[in-house]
């Protein structure tokens, strides 16, 4: 297991004159860490900071001891954006072979990634003709190439079939057991229980941090959604 894969200190991000992240301090370790919160609360921005593609106003983000986004990290961090970032006019296999070449990963890696997201039957198909869920799986597969030590996944399970969602969460836990730190965001509260650790986010701040059980117990509720409400209302 990785200890403190990510260390964030006093992170402050302003986008278009609006404060998106407000003086955030958090560390992320091994296992599957879920980032939950409503749309627009700053989840994607925080993820972009981890990968080093977000301009930040203040604060530091350190990944495996290096500044986020620095050259030695780029092969070690797998990133899936919220919108499927794959080429619509290429097949699944062509997309993955391309990203594998950029990463210097082998052909067998492509097969492993395709199998992991259950797209083997569609790998010869052009991505533009796949369903939304299949496209986002193709995008996820690209992030699995090269065995990254940190996976940053922005809403990878949105709109997917429940069976597949369960399988993907199993995959995330499998990767975490092999030693990767997995950081997954979701706006669907019922995914909370699938995480080892939860960060609840609202309006650019983290309002709770702990295992799903801890968060429920502390708020005295039966589910994470009610806990979220209880925390927000308690703070108001």
């Amino acid at each position: 297991m990785v200890n403190n894969a990510v260390e964030i200190h006093d992170l402050h991000v302003v986008r278009g004159g609006r404060t998106v992240l407000e003086h955030l301090d958090v560390t992320i370790g091994g296992g599957v860490t879920g980032l939950l919160g409503p749309s627009g609360c700053g989840k994607s921005t925080l993820m972009r900071c981890l990968v080093g593609v977000q301009q930040v106003k203040a604060g530091t983000v350190t990944v495996f001891g290096e500044p986020a986004g620095s050259q030695p990290l780029r092969a070690r961090v797998g990133y899936v954006t919220q919108a499927a970032s794959v080429y619509d006019d290429l097949t699944v296999a062509e997309n993955l072979r391309f990203f594998a070449r950029v990463l210097g990963a082998g052909r067998d890696d492509v097969e492993r990634a395709v199998d992991a997201v259950d797209l083997a039957a569609h790998q010869g198909q052009v991505v533009g003709r796949l369903s939304g869920g299949q496209r986002s799986r193709a995008s996820l597969a690209a992030a699995l190439l090269g065995k990254p030590d940190l996976l940053v996944l922005d809403e990878p399970t949105v709109g997917l079939d429940p069976v597949l969602r369960r399988d993907l969460w199993a995959l995330f836990h499998g990767l975490a057991e092999e030693g990767a730190a997995v950081f997954v965001s979701s706006h669907v509260m019922d995914e909370a229980d699938r995480c080892d650790r939860l960060l609840l986010m609202r309006e650019g701040r983290l309002i709770a941090d702990g295992s799903p059980q801890e968060i429920r117990e502390k708020a005295g509720t039966d589910d994470v959604e009610s806990a979220f409400l209880a925390i927000v209302e308690g703070a108001a």
């Binding site: 080093g52 986004g69 780029r74 919108a83 499927a84 290429l90 062509e94 391309f98 070449r101």
Partner: protein
């Protein structure tokens, strides 16, 4: 800089073009059709010999400018550029990858256009014919470089296409196609002196008029320098960190 990554990007861009039959046909056939149209219009006059070389310089430039500005914009807006920039890819790898891919397409395009013009339509060329193709390829890379650069200033594909009249048409008007550059009003002549397409057209015209190639190489160096400058400016507009 990493040759593996550069070639991966070129290979991918070429696969995308190959997959898109309509674009491929437009890239390869359209210049030939337009050149033939011009030849037909000016049948039995010397005009084709005067204007043909300029067209051979313009097509690769215009087409590659358009194709590149739209594809790069697509790459920026689809999130694939962000993903690539989060990977171990240098900015120059990305730009050169595009440059190489479109250079290859331009070479194919100009071989066809030159073969048609010289072989079938009897365009008079005094200089070496292969050098016409070299000039075309450098023009295409120039178009690619400028296309990459302007795509940074467009938010939509619609805007990207609008850069064509802004960046390309003034160069076409002032490149010596309509009136020799030394007959332009002074100010416009100076302007045409700092526009890269002028040098590309000069090179083509010199090639058709004389077998002496020293001037051609000089013009080529200027065009290549503009292309390189465009790539460097393009690299400056590629930001790993965006707001």
């Amino acid at each position: 800089m990493n040759a593996r990554i550069t070639l991966a990007i070129s290979g991918r861009v070429l696969t995308q073009i190959r997959r898109d039959h309509r674009t491929l046909a437009m890239l390869l056939v359209l210049p030939c059709l337009l050149i033939t149209l011009l030849w037909w219009m000016f049948e039995d006059t010397p005009v084709f010999d005067e204007v043909g070389p300029a067209l051979l310089a313009m097509f690769p430039f215009i087409v590659m400018f358009l194709v590149t500005s739209v594809t790069t914009l697509r790459e920026r807006s689809s999130g694939t550029l962000e993903r690539l920039l989060a990977m171990p890819m240098g900015k120059l790898d990305f730009l050169l990858g595009y440059g190489v891919a479109f250079g290859v397409v331009a070479a194919a395009q100009s071989v066809l256009a030159v073969a048609l013009s010289v072989g079938l339509l009897d365009l008079d060329v005094q200089g070496p014919v292969w050098l016409l193709t070299v000039v075309s390829v450098v023009d295409a890379v120039l178009g690619t470089a400028l296309g990459l650069f302007v795509s940074a200033f467009a938010q939509t594909e619609f805007q990207a296409v609008q850069f064509m009249p802004a960046v390309v048409i003034p160069q076409i008007l002032l490149c010596g196609l309509f009136i020799p550059r030394d007959q332009l009003p002074d100010v416009l002549e100076w302007v045409s002196d700092v526009l890269p397409l002028s040098y590309a057209v000069d090179a083509m015209q010199t090639l058709t008029l004389t077998a002496e190639t020293a001037d051609v190489w000089q013009d080529l160096v200027v065009v290549a320098a503009f292309a390189l400058g465009g790539l460097v400016l393009g690299a400056a507009t590629l930001r790993r960190r965006t707001p």
